[in-house]
Symmetry: C2
């Protein structure tokens, strides 16, 4: 008997196959019994007719509970009414292992309980759907850059240099070299790589030991950071538009069923095409003030400000040219207004907040050194980074996209803790 | 003037373009001058005729040194003798930034010096070639699994659970939860994900605080770890054969020029197709003993043993069924010889040693618990992992491929420290 996966049944119509998987639900009329089965690639209904199957098969059906591991044999039939388009007329059933008293039942469970059982909760329809969308987004990210001749460069996690001054760092002892810190960004390193390879990106886990408990924060999250030689800030925003539009389109193309499972309003995603609206930080402050906010020019935007700014926008919104003081030392001074820098944040629609931070980088050695000193950082930690401005310095720009926030937006789920298989939060390190 | 990248010139033949990049070399006869330029996507020769270009362009040429940042304008010509197939008849030259006294000159430098200047050394032809092959391999890994309906699952780096008992761990303080450890593997987590998604893989950095200084060890390296529900050990090895053959083929297809730059004997890579030879551990011991080794049954294989076993093999070699005592607790007992487990290592040809470790996993709850206890581990750290055997346990297998060792083998370079942009070794955390 040919083994098959549920997502491959189009090639097996009319043929007999065996599918291994787990029991989702069962129901029986006494004469006909229905088994919904999952194998990780999809869901399938198998139909057992008491008169047609051997008695031991019918009896085996009666022992099935949620998560029983089974191998079901039967004939594949087209069935337009079923979600996957196929059904199985079952002829055989082998129980491979008992489901036990599976803790995650169809009833409601508390958040705490579900995260304690995250290793089992992952099997539920909603979590499977989120995982599929996350996969499609990640593969889309790699494909986008590969198609455009970017070179993937892995930047170090263990580092002595620190990219962002903000937030707190996880530290570990490193042999005889003192402390190493877990990277908050790979940006400084991809800047070095951009001088070698032109268009590069890193994609890895990043770490923030911040005591943030919001629905937008994890202590460990994945970030993709492209960096492009000879791109200025404007070209950088155009790349961001193309990039975000590409991955949204990819999710729509590849994840019709998962997005339906998640009850995502996909019409809102269909509108995500370039160009995206742009507003300067100064205009954004004026707009917030006009709406009654008491925010002052010079303050960073908070989550509520971001929501207020982006609430009327169908598309992601670029907010450009923030004050120098609230942004990192490596951002290039704006020649048109030296109080500000050539940067942009990108705010997702529907209140999902900042999903991208990007900037043109300071490429002038002396200005960069001044900024390092002005921000109270030790220049000796940045010798190699300053070298990039000594030898063939170059206009360059890049950005960082937070994967979990992007998955939350595209799937339409409220809290990013469900967008990764095993989230790390300040009170959560298990499982 | 249209901006262009060097790898896109086939679309610009006969047209004028401007290319931004860095000076590799210059030479001049006094009437004709040649500039080899790189932009990260490739190398290009631009030809300046003194009589044809404005005097300021000719004079600017005279100021160029290695790593000067330039924008060169000219007409694209086909030139079959040049590596990329094109040349530029230059009409303009703008110096964007000086190259300075670039530390990495064409002369020989010591290893220590080069790694201290790794951020600049990355720009050299050999390092660019290695980076391109690494990129092709990584994209190939994602494509292989995506094409086969695997779901990419990111497993946590910060963890309380420990996959391998061997080696030492990097630790960090984690808020009020005590110590967190940097993951040595994502395997235990992908096992949980395989029960949800069937075919999964993780791909991330892994950490070993071992004091190993060999040419095969880094403290931080990237590993891809697929895990497949309902695959037994034999299917696991077939997947490994297909996978390795796919990424070798991808490198050959996409990296002709980089492999040539690295002087790789690609004929040796052309032979990498399934099936791969297999030998049991017991037969391997007998073979080593017959060749004069004093190794005893029950000892793990060392690097020299691996080299001796694989030296005559054109293809990667599977060594199967190691003694239980030298392998991790999660490997399934071999029913045909319970002293051994259903595992395999995969040894690369040409003396590159182990690049894959794989196994069928113990799916029996009580046997797994016994093994955890027998190896002196604390079962309370594995509650969630044992749960996978309580609720719908299932036959499953997987493996881990070390990316850096694979890149070393495919590029044919002797030491893995050059296979990653910023290697981490016990004495190296900078740049």
């Amino acid at each position: 008997m040919a083994k098959a996966y549920i997502n491959e049944l189009q090639g097996h119509v009319g043929r007999d196959v065996t599918i291994s998987g787990w029991v989702v639900t069962t129901r029986s009329s006494g004469k006909i019994a229905f088994l919904v089965l999952r194998d990780g690639t999809g869901y399938l209904q198998a139909v057992f007719a008491k008169k047609e199957v051997p008695e031991e098969v019918w009896n085996a059906f009666g022992t099935l509970t949620q998560e029983t591991t089974v191998a079901v044999t039967g004939t594949v039939r087209e069935e337009p009414r079923s979600p996957g388009g196929y059904e199985l007329t079952a002829t055989g059933l082998e129980v491979l292992a008992p489901g036990g008293e599976f803790p995650i039942t169809p009833k409601e469970h508390g958040t705490q309980f579900l995260f304690e059982h995250r290793h089992l909760w992952l099997r539920s329809r909603r979590q499977v759907a989120i995982a599929k969308v996350r996969h499609a987004i990640i593969q889309g990210i790699h494909d986008f850059f590969d198609q455009r001749s970017f070179t993937h460069v892995d930047t170090p996690i263990l580092t002595g240099s620190i990219g962002e001054q903000a937030g707190e760092l996880f530290a570990t002892d490193y042999f005889d070299l003192g402390k190493a810190y877990l990277a908050q960004t790979g940006q400084l390193y991809v800047e070095a790589a951009a001088a070698a390879l032109g268009k590069v990106y890193c994609f890895g886990p990043t770490f923030r030991a911040e005591k943030s408990k919001t629905r937008r924060h994890l202590t460990e999250f994945w970030m993709v950071e492209p960096e492009v030689a000879f791109n200025d800030s404007d070209a950088n925003m155009r790349l961001q538009e193309e990039f975000l539009s590409f991955i949204v389109a990819r999710a729509l193309e590849r994840c019709r069923e998962p997005l339906k499972e998640l009850e995502r309003d996909t019409a809102r995603l269909e509108t995500i095409v370039p160009p995206f609206p742009r507003i300067t930080y100064s205009d954004a402050i004026a707009k917030l003030q006009a709406e009654g906010s008491d925010i002052k020019w010079g303050s960073d935007l908070g989550a509520d400000d971001e929501t207020a700014l982006s609430k009327d926008s169908e598309k992601p919104l670029f907010v450009m040219n923030y004050p120098k003081e609230v942004k990192a030392f490596y951002m290039k001074e704006n020649p048109a207004d030296p109080r500000t820098v050539l940067n942009n944040d990108c705010l997702a629609p529907e209140g999902y907040g900042e999903i991208i931070g990007g900037s043109q980088r300071e490429d002038d050695h002396d200005k960069l050194l001044q900024r390092i000193v002005a921000q109270g950082l030790d220049p000796s930690g940045y010798t190699w980074y300053l070298d990039l401005r000594k030898y063939g310095t170059f206009v360059h720009s890049g950005f960082g996209l937070g994967v979990e926030r992007t998955v939350a937006w595209i799937t339409g789920i409220p809290h990013i803790r469900e967008t990764i298989a095993f989230p790390r939060q300040i009170h959560r390190l298990y499982p």
